[in-house]
């Protein structure tokens, strides 16, 4: 049928065709061949213009009914054709097309007109090229999207920071109001009218403080207070709740051996960690099993590796959560703390990562021991609040036991807000402490040279030397000094050293006095 087509029909279907007689003489030339090889003429021998690749020229016309696959390359090398030769008694038609690549498409050597209307190769090559273009555009758009996201994240962070600063400053003001209201109450509390007014002021300050707290939560500032907490008590107090987290299908033992030892931590932070660990353990045992939560006091390195450099052996509180679940392979273990990594289909991958962040922030560490089939044990180590007093019984929070020996306790008080300084000094003195008030870091440095103190109570954010700088200096020159930091927001925990205590402003006078009493 092809053989019966007119030259014009052939030209539009196969623009690169050639018609030959049985002695290889060219009888007709497709328009695309004529375009690419301007010297080709009807009457020339095809073999003088083209090499026939892998074809036996001698036997080329042997089967006048047949079809043979062929490839041709022009002697000048510029034109590559492939397809089939279709034979009849008079000769053959070379039903061939150009070899198309994206390169020849792009560099102007071949055009759409060089290919027939129904040529599927052209369509697919164009399709590939279009898809590549679309992919490139999509990638560009995706990168733009990512930048956009980054931009809004950094805007959010900046706004958050501003909110944090505002919250901090506002907290400072509230702190002054509150301390002075307490002062009023203490001095004139016997007068009912004044007592009522002072109560109103305190409550209003407390409401204001709630507002700043939510503002700071929004700005992702930590709002928890860091206090010396008896770990065993914390677990005991939440015993019922922890049991309900574990659920009924699992046998759960709690074994508390840390006595009254304290660690300076955030109460809710540790509770969240324990809950996270219990949930993980529970999920490792979908069909039930055994789980235990234990505490003990140990001596050694609180962190697993001494990668922090300055770690020295000391006493620490070890909290262990062990399960009899499926355990983890080495590969899983090595990734378990990665944020967003989860081996569970519905896991968020945030549980263990947040436990580790917490442990590091508190100056401790966490790691896993696991064997496939034999369960997993999580070790969470937290530094002791008062390693030297390990054997003594520290004061339990909530039992304000102010001993008469207080008069010999020296407190170095640093606060740049004069009203707050005055109120704090008065309050502490009223409790019998000897207070050296300083309105700046520089004054405090000077005071440190004059005598030794039992306690440094300092604001953090101040012009000039900050509270953490003062605390570092004080701890260096007076190693026995206890440290309590106060601030409208919780400082970057990396800047806090293990053993330092922290109380958030505006603070309750009683809470502060209790903390001071427990520290000295």
């Amino acid at each position: 049928m092809l053989l019966k087509f007119t030259e014009q029909q052939l030209a539009s279907l196969l623009p690169a065709y050639l018609r030959l007689d049985s002695s290889f003489c060219i009888k007709a030339i497709g328009p695309s061949v004529a375009e690419h090889l301007p010297n080709i003429r009807v009457g020339m021998r095809c073999t003088d213009v083209f090499d026939f690749i892998h074809t036996d020229i001698e036997q080329f016309f042997d089967n006048p009914q047949g079809v043979k696959p062929i490839r041709l390359v022009s002697h000048c090398g510029s034109t590559h054709l492939f397809g089939a030769a279709v034979f009849d008694k008079t000769g053959c038609i070379l039903a061939v097309r150009h070899v198309l690549s994206e390169e020849s498409m792009n560099n102007g050597t071949l055009y759409l007109n060089d290919f027939g209307y129904a040529d599927p190769v052209v369509l697919s090559t164009m399709l590939i090229s279009l898809q590549r273009a679309m992919l490139e555009e999509s990638q560009a758009t995706a990168i733009e999207l990512a930048h956009e996201r980054e931009r809004s994240a950094s805007l959010l962070e900046r706004t958050g920071r501003v909110a944090g600063y505002m919250g901090h400053d506002f907290n400072n003001l509230l702190s002054i109001i509150r301390l002075n209201a307490d002062r009023l109450l203490r001095k004139f509390g016997h007068d009912e009218k004044i007592s009522n007014l002072a109560q109103i002021i305190r409550e209003t300050a407390a409401r204001g403080s709630n507002i700043t707290q939510s503002l700071m939560k929004l700005s992702q500032q930590q709002t928890d207070t860091l206090l010396p907490i008896i770990i065993d008590d914390l677990i005991r107090e939440n015993d019922t709740f922890l049991n309900s987290v574990v659920g009924s299908g699992i046998s759960f033992d709690i074994d508390l051996q840390a006595g009254t030892c304290e660690s300076v931590i955030s109460y809710n932070g540790l509770l969240n960690c324990i809950i996270n660990l219990l949930i993980n353990a529970r999920e490792a045992m979908p069909h039930g099993g055994r789980m235990s939560l234990s505490t003990s006091v140990a001596h050694g390195l609180a962190t697993r590796k001494s990668d922090s450099g300055e770690t020295e052996p000391s006493a620490y509180i070890a909290i262990c959560v062990a399960d009899s679940g499926s355990g983890m392979s080495e590969a899983l273990l090595s990734r378990a703390f990665e944020p967003l990594f989860s081996s569970k289909p519905k896991g968020t991958g945030l549980g263990l990562a947040s436990v580790r962040d917490f442990a590091k922030e508190m100056g401790g560490d966490v790691w896993l021991e696991s064997q496939v089939g034999a369960g997993t044990t999580v070790h969470l180590h937290l530094p002791l609040a008062n390693p030297s007093a390990e054997v003594q019984t520290p004061h339990k929070l909530g039992q304000s036991t102010v001993t008469p020996a207080i008069g010999t306790r020296h407190i170095l008080l640093v606060e740049d807000e004069p009203y707050a300084l005055e109120a704090l000094a008065e309050m502490l003195e009223a409790e019998g402490y000897v207070v050296t008030p300083c309105a700046s870091g520089e004054q405090a440095m000077h005071a440190l040279e004059q005598q030794t103190y039992h306690l440094l109570l300092t604001d953090i954010v101040m012009p000039g030397k900050t509270g953490t700088e003062i605390a570092k200096q004080a701890n260096r020159c007076q190693p026995s000094i206890k440290t309590i930091l106060m601030s409208g927001y919780v400082p970057d925990s990396a800047s806090l050293e293990p053993g330092w205590m922290f109380i958030r402003k505006p603070m309750d006078s009683d809470d502060l006095l209790r903390l001071v009493a427990s520290a000295v």
């Binding site: 498409m105 007109n113 399709l127 279009l130 999509s138 758009t141």
Partner: protein
């Protein structure tokens, strides 16, 4: 793809802020520019008319300019090889537009594609029929042809010679540059 081109045009003419303001006004973002998605015409029209207001052009003039711009846009980006391949001169390029859009249709299922037929071809003059399921795009097509004349280094004019039902006949008159 189309939307990205409009954006590039607004970017080039008025700067990034103008486009951001436009995005804001229409409540769209980079998502609406993801290539390979077929959009509602209404959105495209909304973008074009917003862009025209900002470029201080009538919608028709804006469509014309966008037609011209599309040719430049397709020439310089990753579509360049397809544009080169489609034809080495104005007449064969226009003859091959349907084949080009055939491939576009395969790459973007759901796209509403035009059809162009050259009904008469004499030196310096082409009569081209444009068929489309859409209406109101004549200024765009005029701009496209105008852009193509420029692309092939020629100078000339495009006008609408005839309108029947859903067929519009465009007349291109041009002189080759060299």
């Amino acid at each position: 793809m189309i939307h990205r081109a409009v954006r590039q045009m607004v970017f080039d003419e008025l700067g990034e802020d103008a486009w951001l303001a436009l995005e804001h006004k229409l409540g769209i973002g980079p998502n609406e520019l993801l290539t390979g998605m077929v959009y509602d015409d209404a959105l495209t029209i909304a973008i074009i008319s917003e862009a025209s207001a900002r470029l201080n052009l009538s919608v028709d003039v804006c469509l014309f300019e966008f037609g011209r711009y599309w040719i430049k846009y397709a020439e310089r980006g990753s579509l360049a090889s397809i544009m080169n391949f489609t034809g080495q001169d104005l007449a064969s390029f226009i003859e091959n537009l349907d084949r080009l859009h055939l491939a576009v249709g395969a790459a973007m299922p759901g796209a509403v594609l035009p059809s162009f037929t050259t009904v008469s071809k004499t030196p310096g003059r082409l009569m081209v029929e444009y068929r489309s399921d859409r209406t109101g795009l004549e200024p765009f097509v005029l701009g496209l042809f105008d852009g193509l004349i420029t692309r092939f280094g020629a100078t000339g004019d495009v006008k609408i010679a005839d309108r029947k039902a859903n067929v519009i006949v465009f007349e291109l008159q041009y002189q080759d540059g060299s």
